[in-house]
């Protein structure tokens, strides 16, 4: 490169002077210790560098080939939800003081990140009713998998994990992948009427079961009987892991109240963009007695040399950088900026807002379901649901969705993709962003096909 590059401050003169100071004739000499056999001698085959203007045009063209939730009315959820994100959220996460920092290894110049984590932990504890929360996991799926591993580590000798088949299919796949390392056996309980039957769960448990993982509301949007399921888990001496939707906790009983040992879930609905699936964030909360088993970063309050309040990363003897092979998890970088978004979102929504957003989702979903039923799309499962519900379609689901697409509506997710017995079913999500008019258009589009 003859000319300079905007991201590289060294000029040719700088390089010359620095090499001189080192007593070297060329940069090449600094690489002389790389054996010839392993040295790359060609030129990387990459597209030519772009100016900023060219880049902006190129990226706009790529982005232009995607549909967005602003252009299309979407009724798709299944683990990623189109909730409204107040403007303040991106203004705060867009502050470079937050986003150009890293893990707060030097707490005296990282109080913003640390205090925000402490506030995040508090918000998650309040929302879930649990006693302790960490600074975040990669996503809901990995949080659930790590909950299983922690359970098995804690309850020595127990190497079985029992999950409902109504746990998000991608969470189950992730869990199955993670389980292979420590050699955990994963058993699935089939649902009845869209929910996990407590008596069936009871029969599936034994003294080798480390934990039971139940999603609430479950993948079908159905509300599980968490009291009974938790009781069954505990009767077998296993941990009860609740995988919960954070918005639903505005109206649904928090895991702390039904005795969950661990509460995990996907934090994306709390102010994090859909982003074609990431980055999102996993939240991870537990009872106090599991504090020292927690994976990942935890911030704690302390005092400085003058007795002034401050925050640090704490209980680090759980973590890989201190404990290496004895760590509770291998996680290092997490999803801090997404956790900051969730923190800001929860502070904005506050006590009233979280309840209101939850009830709006609930009532709009109920309305949509009541309109779809007479239009020929009965509920696949009779029980109560939150924000999302499965319907059976009288016509092939592909036809339903292609018809809706022509009207710029993205219909429900085709459940047959994961559940062969539900080839005729669609999973419809309705957030507070969907208007009555949106819902009526959906119903008209689907009803017209019969």
């Amino acid at each position: 490169m003859g000319a300079g590059h905007r991201y590289l401050p060294n000029t040719a003169a700088d390089r010359r002077q620095m090499l001189e100071a080192l007593g070297l004739g060329s940069v090449e000499e600094l690489f002389a210790d790389i054996p010839d056999r392993v040295r790359f001698k060609g030129k990387l085959e990459l597209p030519a560098p772009m100016s900023e203007l060219e880049l902006v045009r190129h990226m706009a063209a790529l982005a232009g080939r995607n549909a967005t939730v602003d252009e299309y009315v979407t009724f798709r959820g299944a683990g990623a939800y189109d909730h409204f994100i107040p403007s303040v959220v991106s203004h705060i996460t867009g502050r470079a003081e937050f986003y150009t920092a890293y893990t707060p290894y030097q707490p005296e110049v990282s109080q913003a990140v640390l205090q925000a984590i402490y506030e995040y932990q508090t918000l998650i504890c309040e929302l879930t009713g649990m006693e302790v929360a960490n600074a975040s996991m990669y996503d809901g799926a990995t949080a659930a998998a790590e909950a299983a591993i922690i359970s098995s580590q804690t309850l020595t000798g127990r190497r079985r994990v029992v999950v409902s088949s109504a746990l998000h299919p991608e969470y189950r796949e992730t869990l199955n992948t993670y389980a292979r390392g420590p050699g955990l056996a994963v058993a699935e309980i089939p649902t009845e009427g869209g929910v996990t039957p407590p008596d069936r769960l009871r029969k599936a448990l034994d003294s080798s079961t480390a934990c039971v993982i139940i999603q609430q509301p479950n993948f079908f949007g159905c509300v599980e009987d968490m009291d009974a399921l938790g009781e069954a888990a505990h009767a077998a001496g296993a941990h009860f892991v609740a995988c919960v939707d954070p918005i639903s906790l505005g109206v649904l009983k928090p895991p702390g109240e039904y005795g969950a040992d661990l509460a995990v879930g996907e934090g994306q609905p709390l102010g994090v963009p859909l982003g074609f699936g990431g980055p999102h964030l996993g939240f991870f909360a537990a009872t106090g007695k599991l504090t020292r088993r927690m994976p990942g970063r935890i911030a704690g309050m302390t005092l400085d040399a003058d007795g002034k309040r401050g925050f640090v990363l704490t209980l680090q003897t759980r973590e890989q950088h201190i404990r290496r092979e004895k760590a509770t998890s291998n996680i290092c970088s997490n999803e801090a900026l997404c956790a900051l978004a969730a923190t800001v979102y929860l502070c904005l929504m506050g006590k009233q807002g979280v309840r209101e957003v939850a009830t709006q989702c609930l009532k709009k979903a109920c309305y949509a379901q009541e309109q779809l039923e007479p239009a020929g799309y009965p509920l696949a499962f009779a029980g109560p649901f939150f924000r999302e519900f499965a319907v059976r379609s009288p016509v092939p689901v592909e036809r339903v969705n292609s018809t809706l697409l022509a009207d710029k509506i993205v219909g429900g997710v085709e459940l047959g993709r994961w559940y062969p017995e539900l080839q005729d079913s669609l999973l419809v999500a309705v957030t507070e962003k969907r208007t009555r008019q949106d819902i009526d258009r959906l119903v008209a589009g689907m009803g017209g096909l019969r």
Binding site: M1, L8, P9, F31, D33, V38, K43, L44, A48, M50, L55, V56, L62, A67, T68, V69, T74, R76, A80, E97, A101, Y102, T103, Q106, Q111, A116, E126, Y171, T174, T177, G183, M226, G250, K253, E257, P273, G275, G277, G278, L281, R297, T302, D304, A305, V312, R324, E325, A327, S329, N330, A336, L337, V344, C347, L348, M349, V357, Y367, N401, L405
Partner: protein, 492 residues
């Protein structure tokens, strides 16, 4: 650092302490469907009885709270951040803008494929670029961070050996390795075996020969390693491990030193991860999100997580049909918006730009190393790569001033401290990674300050031991935090 970082500033309250009943900071459209009691929709037993104690504040309260907090935070945009092993380079602003384009940020992961061709094309191209840079045949963009990539790679090792009917139980890891390496090995069900380093800082070849055996699944290696040194015996290391059926894992945390200079796949590695949040300039977010794509050479490729993105002509699709894949390691397709930023970075740099990045990163580190070596002990006196390791043993032995003290003193002068006490094999270690985005003037200023602190350690050791003095809070009591954990606010 900024003037707001002065001592004596009033501490920012917790957002909960600002709460005032009835105050709100949100607005939603009025419900436009028939209203009904929640109890009509949900069974009484499933309902929340008491509202969570979330703050009741106004919008301006929230904005001021987080803005004021941000003023007591160091970041790359504020000043030098030579945190070794973390590659705290400048994060281009335009990449942030690109990742917030509605056509990328506002895309649902389960939109039908015909609606997301731009996103799939970006993933497809990014995979090709990383294959080229890493010298591997395919890359999965699914892992969310470096450690997640390690877990993915080691599970691929397991699957590969299992397919050959082998049950290998051990993973070799150098004593200079990052903590995630042994932790990942354990999560994957392996036992770890530590390999000592030799006097040049590389893998001790004799020890490796002794420790390698038919029960060893493979070796994890960071190259350049955490001492900032390229392993001169790389080819021999690979031969020893491969000749007994083992595999080589490349921890790509330090790839900033070798772009266009050495490709891990060519140098004998079988599985490779990249840290997009280090090498490819995506911001660290106060601890994340990162992205840790994993690449594999041909023989390990079948085990990569699914789905990958395939192309049929100019049509892109998610390829789930990968029968020997280890499966999924997270939801969806990885940290897409982080991948977007790294993609924009690669397109901004091109091949010659990335080569210059590595050259400048290495030149900067060597320049700084020589300056620091005038005042600090240099345990490995040879050219480093993108980072260097010096030690504070002289200051500790002569003046009782520890590396921790000097790191804290640096904060008083507006610099973030280097990584300290890592790697573990160098006592009183300071691991300094300047990156290529710092100018010679910044390096001179930092080296000057380090020299000054070395002087203070001699002339006024208590000043250094009591540091920092000018930060928003003074030295924080970490022992107290661990002894009496206070991990959340509680209503009085």
């Amino acid at each position: 650092m900024t003037s707001q970082l002065e001592a004596g500033r009033r501490p920012e309250p917790l957002i909960f302490e600002m709460s005032s009943p009835g105050r709100i900071a949100y607005s939603l459209p009025a419900l436009d469907v028939p209203d009904r009691p929640v109890e009509e929709c949900l069974p009484a037993g499933a309902l929340r009885r008491t509202a969570p104690e979330l703050p009741e504040v106004s919008e301006v309260d929230v904005v001021r709270h987080f803005t004021r907090l941000s003023q007591i935070q160091h970041g790359v945009d504020i000043g030098f951040y030579p945190l070794g092993s973390c590659t705290m380079k400048y994060n281009p602003k335009v990449n942030e803008d690109m990742a917030s384009l509605p056509g990328l940020a506002g895309v649902h992961p389960y939109f039908p494929e015909e609606l997301v061709q731009g996103a799939l094309e970006l993933l497809y191209r990014m995979e090709r670029y990383l294959c080229e840079i890493g010298g591997v045949s395919r890359v999965s963009l699914q892992p969310a961070a470096g450690a997640h990539g390690e877990l993915t790679g080691l599970l691929m090792f397991r699957a590969y050996h299992a397919d050959r009917g082998e049950n290998r139980t051990r993973i070799l890891i150098p004593d200079s390795a990052h903590g995630t390496n042994p932790a990942s090995a354990i999560v994957c069900g392996y036992q770890t075996v530590e390999v000592p380093s030799d006097h040049r800082g590389g893998v001790d070849i004799e020890a490796l020969k002794r420790l390698m055996g038919p029960d060893v699944a493979g070796l994890m290696l960071t190259n350049p390693n955490t001492l900032g040194l390229f392993d001169e015996n790389m080819a021999t290391v690979a031969e020893i491990v491969h000749s007994q059926g083992g595999l080589l894992y490349y921890d790509g945390a330090n790839a900033n030193a070798i772009m266009g200079i050495a490709r891990p796949g060519d140098t004998g590695f079988d599985v490779v991860h990249f840290n997009l949040h280090k090498t490819f300039a995506t911001p660290h977010g106060g601890g994340g999100p990162g992205s840790g794509p994993v690449g594999a050479v041909a023989k390990l490729e079948p085990y990569l997580p699914a789905p990958l993105v395939d192309a049929d002509g100019d049509r892109y699709r998610l390829a789930y049909d990968r029968p020997r894949s280890i499966g999924r390691v997270k939801s969806f397709y990885g940290n897409f918006l982080v991948v977007v930023k790294a993609y924009a970075y690669i397109r901004s740099m091109g091949a010659e730009g990335l080569l210059r990045v590595s050259e400048d990163a290495v030149l900067n580190a060597n320049y700084l190393m020589r300056k620091l070596a005038e005042h600090f002990h240099l345990p490995y006196d040879r050219h480093c790569k993108h980072e260097c390791v010096v030690s504070g043993v002289w200051q500790k032995d002569r003046h009782g001033v520890r590396t921790l003290d000097m790191a804290k003193r640096l904060l008083d002068y507006g610099f973030h401290a280097p990584t300290i006490y890592f790697p573990l094999i160098v006592p009183e270690c300071l691991m300094v990674e300047p990156t290529e985005t710092e100018s010679r003037q910044t390096l001179d200023a930092f080296a000057g300050t380090m020299a000054h602190i070395a002087g203070e350690a001699e002339s006024d050791p208590d000043l250094v031991k009591g540091a920092p003095h000018t930060t928003p809070v003074k030295r924080l009591d970490e022992a107290l935090a661990a002894r009496k954990p206070n991990l959340r606010w509680r209503p009085e």
